[in-house]
Symmetry: C2
Subunit: 414 residues, 2 copies
């Protein structure tokens, strides 16, 4: 079964928002064996939407449409769908009831434009949206299903999880798609490719291998498609094992999880605790860690010490160290990491101090100079990096490098 995703809204095409919906939907569809053929973002323009629907109908069995369902004048998806399917409008009782309940909950008066949110093309089936005022609409035409959803991420996610995905799995016999991901660090894409060339060449036609590089890590993804799920799992496991044994020292994990989650899992299994002492990464490492459920079992917390005063008061960095060597130095980052171990009483600590930019660089320490230290109770290792002149990149690359360093220390010591 082939699906396409169409997102409607000028805000994506002028770059004001990043389309995170499509990746999430694609992931869920793949999990139930539906392949996504194309993702298309079009403007709030009738002719353009009609053309996108027409082309998608020639390629796909299932078309998921998000956006353009708000109550305001710039939202024209509903009108355009009615035109595409040549339908009139009805005010849907169940959709109206949901709008009423939402307005009652927030004790707000119901306006005419809110009542109109329950107007739908008369040939569609309404799926009630419990988290918002725009109903979800299901159309069928020439064996293709069209589903229109609001673009607000959590409304779309609830509708997909609770309504749409279950309906699709129960209505269709779908092939299985099995993915297996291996996360590697500290090896470049080309070298990895050369190392595993023979394994790659031996893959059967229904199994594909992809390389996904990001911030010093390369994710290898094996994807197998077929009718027998158990067999597919076995097959990808065989190839995954071959790859892992070939490049073992670069393998972080064979689960499809980010580096920090792999570290959390490893530390949790050993009963180890972690804290952070961040300057230029400004809480980003803490955020990466704490976005994962269960992180509190390992991560106790930390300091975001932007000002000198906080480096001293929370982490116990000596004033003389800051004055002699500067905040971005081996000495300061070492005292930050060791201070975190001492004050936060964890087994390991990460410390980062650098110049994220765009200001603050000097000839000796240009923007992008970042010191990272990893401490355990017995030992501290510190290393300097020279990243780019872009602030957000420096923050992200510092975090990725700090986590990779922590993993190396853990591999050596536990």
């Amino acid at each position: 079964m082939l699906a396409e995703i169409i997102t409607i809204g000028d805000e994506i095409l002028i770059g004001q928002i990043v389309d995170t919906n499509s990746a999430w939907m694609a992931k869920q569809l793949n999990l139930i064996g539906v392949s996504v053929k194309q993702i298309t973002s079009v403007s709030d323009d009738e002719q353009h939407i009609l053309e996108a629907l027409r082309l998608a109908e020639t390629r796909a069995d299932l078309i998921l449409i998000t956006g353009g369902l708000g109550p305001t004048k710039d939202d024209i998806t509903k009108k355009t769908l009615a035109k595409y399917f040549n339908m009139g409008f009805r005010n849907d009782a169940a959709a109206l009831e949901m709008v009423r309940q939402i307005f009652e909950k927030y004790k707000r008066p119901l306006l005419d434009i809110n009542i109109q949110q329950a107007d739908v093309p008369d040939g569609c089936e309404v799926i009630v949206n419990k988290n918002g005022t725009a109903p979800c609409m299901w159309f069928e035409q020439n064996n293709t299903i069209f589903i229109s959803m609001p673009g607000v991420p959590y409304e779309m996610m609830y509708l997909m999880d609770d309504e749409i995905l279950p309906r699709i799995t129960s209505s269709f016999k779908l092939p299985f798609i099995v993915h297996k991901t291996i996360l590697t660090a500290n090896i470049g894409e080309s070298f990895l490719a050369k190392e595993i060339e023979e394994i790659e060449d031996s893959l059967p036609a229904h199994i594909k291998l992809a390389y996904l590089p990001k911030l010093g890590q390369v994710r290898l993804r094996l994807s197998a498609k077929g009718d027998n799920e158990a067999e597919l799992h076995q097959e990808v496991e065989v190839y995954a094992k071959q790859i892992i044994s070939k490049v073992n020292k670069f393998v972080v994990t064979d689960e499809d999880i980010p580096l920090e989650k792999a570290i959390l899992d490893l530390m949790k299994s050993k009963g180890l605790t972690l804290s952070t002492a961040e300057s230029c990464t400004g809480g980003y490492i803490a955020h990466l860690i704490t976005q994962h459920p269960g992180s509190s079992a390992v991560y106790w917390g930390g300091a975001v010490a932007y000002a000198y005063e906080l480096k001293e008061s929370i982490l116990g960095v000596k004033e003389s160290t800051l004055n002699t060597f500067g905040a971005v130095s081996e000495q300061t980052v070492t005292e930050m990491a060791e201070g975190a171990i001492e004050h936060f009483k964890t087994d390991y600590a990460i410390a980062v101090s650098g110049i994220a930019g765009p200001d603050g660089g000097t000839e000796e320490k240009p923007v992008g100079t970042v010191w990272i230290a990893i401490s355990s109770k017995h030992k501290t290792v510190a290393k300097v990096f020279n990243f780019s002149n872009k602030r957000i990149q420096n923050i992200e690359r510092s975090a990725a490098s700090a986590l990779a360093m922590l993993l190396n220390v853990l591999k050596e010591t536990v």
Copy 2:
């Protein structure tokens, strides 16, 4: 001038990565007066790429293509472009020299597949990529420009900023597109629409108004298109002023910046300082603040206090408060905020303590219960929120609500 963006790569269609490139490219193109008509994501499949190129050529004057240029076998963009334009291959001397330099810098041996990265379709112009081994390629056919770039974000960004955008602006006479954004908080989309209905109805055809709701905020965007830039700026300013005076008490800023940046700007102009004390948001608020250049003038730092021990040791929360009322309580969050003021010596502090989930909820305090406090030297306000059962959403909504609360306190006191 109309542009389209085509991203090539299975990783987007299986939802393994979010396509952030397209939004960034669209934003840059809009700034120079190029409208993006469509963004299309297709798989690493020859027929599909060829069809996407053909359709885009019928609609656009400029087609930006990213992805599929890696050295590995799953990357087929270059071969497919050669087929589309009916070209052979040449090994490009400038591209090869860049590959050599990069491998020299990292002291890695040059492999055959790396040398092949300098192979390009023989009718294209090569734009050297200083940050990676895949060259950028510029094609022209039937008055349409096709530009193929690597999908690695920072390589693409450098090529766009330093090479492609300057070439486009100097080669074409482009219309101007002027955007003006007004950020509002604490008012729903429909109510906002009703408040400014008359102004919206009075807009001329070349000025559009869009509503962009997100996390309790609504961004209003006026977009004007025409040949006289100064006139367009004047026009949107007139309508923006009308809107701002109509809904003044909900307006955060009339710049296209996020809430935390508006707060930083306001606090900086008044010489005020800020610290944070985060539990369930785990450093996310600190990260939102510190991603902005110049944040160190206002933000001194803070604590990520996940464990009870750190709430006590860094923030001075009393053990008896934690034991009597729990970590998620008005009393604890108040002591966290006041502790931050006292220990970090800032003028204002944000504190957040809640149950982000999925575990840790109780009947009395279900997942999504979040206490937020804002302290100044004179006063603390605390408020409880009941968000959803999804961890990431709870973190994001807690941060957005904390920032909105801080803004309200600042508006009342400074």
